[in-house]
């Protein structure tokens, strides 16, 4: 981006990104009709996100790994068989009317994880039964309490020599490497460790994992391109996390980070400040070439049941807001996905410029949220996952009507599930689209 970009206001930057979303470079639409509905759908989201009145309430159908079960396969299979993955996701693409489409980018390449001996997650057939519908993070102290200083001093060094050897079995020997930052002028000692066959095996594994992931990305890209050509916009060009969650999810673990809040609070703050700019830069880069300027931030450990409002304001909110505002200032539109409930956070979380972010609620009382922040920020949600998975289409549709009646007035609302649905009656998902069409039209 040229210098002029840096001088634009956040609204101007976002307007440019929205233009690009409306007319994405490199996309060839299947026909004029596909292009027309694509633009209609993108416009619908943009207007709802920025509190203008769209033609009707947009809808995000919560199909995480649903495509797999829908096509008669499962996550475990499609993680290893990309043809099957394409088949399943294309079937859902062609058979489910929607305002947006989520390509299988969140289905990871199983063989790449195997090659690296990935320890941070369990997935079907690898720590979980073959037919389990999701993968799950392994909670643990992946970073020890006395390692804060190492992380803060040099995150890259900490990653390469301490953290990655723990989460990738293939990198185990990397814990014996000297620092890569060397001031040696005629390099000799710099080369020496890489003569070690165990270190070399780590690099070979990484290259193989890279090759495998190239195959995977081709398959994902094929489906993504097809969905765009058919006129379905994406709304998730990147993911980002709150620094507290990065610490609590995959570094110290929930237990660890909560002890640290008492035993070394200053280190927790310093570490989050160190993590924030890295999280910001990574996500901005991932959005650069995408069509949609929207990202999702799944939020975990700031929920009502995890900490007090005061702890939230002290530990969670400051660096989280900093990260979000960095995206906003780059013209990116963050969708903040509040997992669990945020009923005790509603007086805090509205503190963003008007129309700059959307709050996506899981179990929060969304009508209260509408009252407290709805005139300032778009709200998204929240048909209960349990209802979609176990109820009838009629029950789902009625619940959607209730949500639309309470949240749609004045704009700034997107109908969505509470969390992703992995299995169940497809008619329950279709009932969500039927509801927005029947009850969600703005006059």
């Amino acid at each position: 981006m040229d210098k002029a970009w840096a001088e634009l206001s956040w609204e101007e930057k976002r307007a440019k990104r929205f233009e690009r979303w409306l007319s994405p470079p490199g996309v060839t639409f299947a026909n004029a009709q596909a292009e027309k509905v694509y633009k209609e759908r993108v416009t619908r989201f943009i207007k709802a996100f920025t509190l203008e009145k769209p033609d009707r309430v947009p809808c995000i159908i919560p199909t995480g790994f649903y495509a797999a079960a829908y096509a008669g396969t499962n996550l475990g299979e499609v993680m290893y068989d990309y043809d099957k993955m394409k088949m399943a996701w294309r079937k859902l693409l062609h058979e489910m009317d929607a305002d947006t489409y989520v390509p299988p980018a969140l289905v990871p390449p199983g063989r790449a994880l195997d090659i690296m001996d990935y320890k941070l997650y369990k997935w079907p057939g690898h720590g979980l039964s073959k037919t389990t519908l999701s993968y799950q993070a392994v909670e643990g102290e992946w970073m020890k309490p006395d390692e804060y200083d190492a992380l803060i001093r040099d995150p890259s060094d900490f990653w390469l020599r301490t953290y990655l050897p723990r989460i990738f079995g293939a990198f185990k020997a990397f814990s014996g490497l000297p620092p890569w930052t060397s001031f040696e002028e005629i390099a000799t000692a710099t080369f020496l460790p890489f003569g070690n066959p165990e270190i070399q095996a780590g690099f070979k594994a990484l290259m193989e994992a890279g090759n495998e992931t190239m195959k995977w990305i081709m398959a994902v890209g094929e489906v993504a391109a097809e969905s765009l050509a058919m006129g379905y916009p994406g709304i998730m060009s990147g993911l980002a996390k709150a620094p507290f969650d990065t610490l609590g999810d995959t570094l110290r673990g929930t237990q660890g980070v909560m002890m640290d809040m008492f035993q070394r609070p200053q280190k927790v703050h310093e570490a989050m400040e160190r993590i924030a700019p890295i999280a910001i830069a990574g996500t901005i880069a991932s959005v650069a070439n995408a069509a949609a300027p929207t990202i999702i931030m799944p939020l975990h450990k700031g929920a009502d049941s995890f900490m007090s409002p005061k702890q939230y304001e002290t530990f969670y909110w400051p660096t989280f807001r900093k990260v979000v505002m960095a995206f906003v200032n780059e013209g990116i539109f963050p969708i903040l996905f509040a997992e669990g409930s945020y009923n005790n956070r509603l007086d805090i979380i509205g503190d963003f410029p008007k129309g700059s972010v959307a709050w996506y609620f899981d179990q929060t009382n969304i009508f209260e949220a509408k009252k407290k922040i709805g005139d300032k920020l778009c709200i998204v949600g929240n048909v209960p996952t349990s209802l979609i998975m176990t109820g009838t289409p009629q029950q789902v549709k009625e619940h959607c009507k209730k949500l639309i009646d309470g949240c749609a007035p004045g704009s700034g609302y997107v109908l969505a599930g509470g969390a992703n649905v992995d299995d169940g009656n497809p008619e329950n998902l279709r009932a969500m689209m039927a509801a927005v069409k029947e009850y969600g039209v703005y006059k």
């Binding site: 799950q136 929930t254 909560m258 002890m259 809040m261 008492f262 900490m307 992995d422």
Partner: protein
């Protein structure tokens, strides 16, 4: 000394609690009395959690304090401690296919400080293992935990297996966690859904017929 100790522990004053533990041992106080006081402090923590004054970080930290106190006291114990009298048994488990245990452990903690003998089976517990535990431990209350949607069916299958074994009619089953709610309770044919650890305690007390 004992009252200070209880309150310091309940207030999570790490340094003071540990210092006082050592002082009490040096003054030749009965180590069992110190552990009893520690339990009382923990029960105040439980009450504060139930009252919305404390949250998960305080529970986690109080657990750490208790472990530290116990570690200091243990070498001074002579003979067997007297087991605290418990109201009754409860089995809890996170169902098959789910490896989340944060909520499970809070329920464990709250049931324990409220006087129940808890068998915590951990995460990803297969149906057969739960059936076996119910048979052997003969607890009249079973708590099933789950965070993600695959738990819906795992809970249903667990309840069905207990039915098939003829163990269901003398057993009360509560469910809780992440995406669980009353809909899932109906779907899984459990007896009740509890939205948090306090609800788990209230249900268990109700089923035991204690206040």
């Amino acid at each position: 000394m004992s009252g200070d100790f209880i309150n310091l522990l309940a207030d999570l004053k790490e340094e003071e609690v540990l210092k006082l533990t050592k002082e009490r041992l040096d003054a030749k106080e009965d180590p069992l009395k110190i552990l009893d006081d520690a339990r009382e402090g923990m029960s105040i923590v439980g009450k504060r959690f139930a009252g919305g004054e404390y949250f998960l970080p305080e529970l986690v930290f109080s657990g750490e304090l208790l472990a530290q106190v116990t570690n200091i006291v243990k070498p001074h114990l002579t003979g067997e401690g007297v087991q605290q009298k418990k109201i009754g048994k409860v089995i809890i488990a996170t169902v098959a296919g789910d490896i989340h245990d944060i909520g499970l452990n809070i329920v464990d903690f709250m049931l324990d400080v409220n006087g129940f003998e808890v068998t915590n089976m951990g995460v990803d517990v297969p149906v057969e293992k739960i059936v076996k535990a119910v048979k052997e431990i003969k607890a009249p209350v079973l708590g099933l935990s789950g965070f993600l949607t695959p738990a819906f069916d795992a809970m249903k299958e667990t309840v069905e297996a207990l039915e098939k074994e003829g163990l269901r009619k003398d057993l009360k089953i509560m469910i809780g966690g992440g995406q669980m709610d009353d809909e899932v309770c109906k779907y899984a044919k459990a007896d009740a859904y509890g939205k948090d650890a306090m609800a788990a305690v209230a249900l268990t007390k109700k089923w035991y017929g204690v206040e």
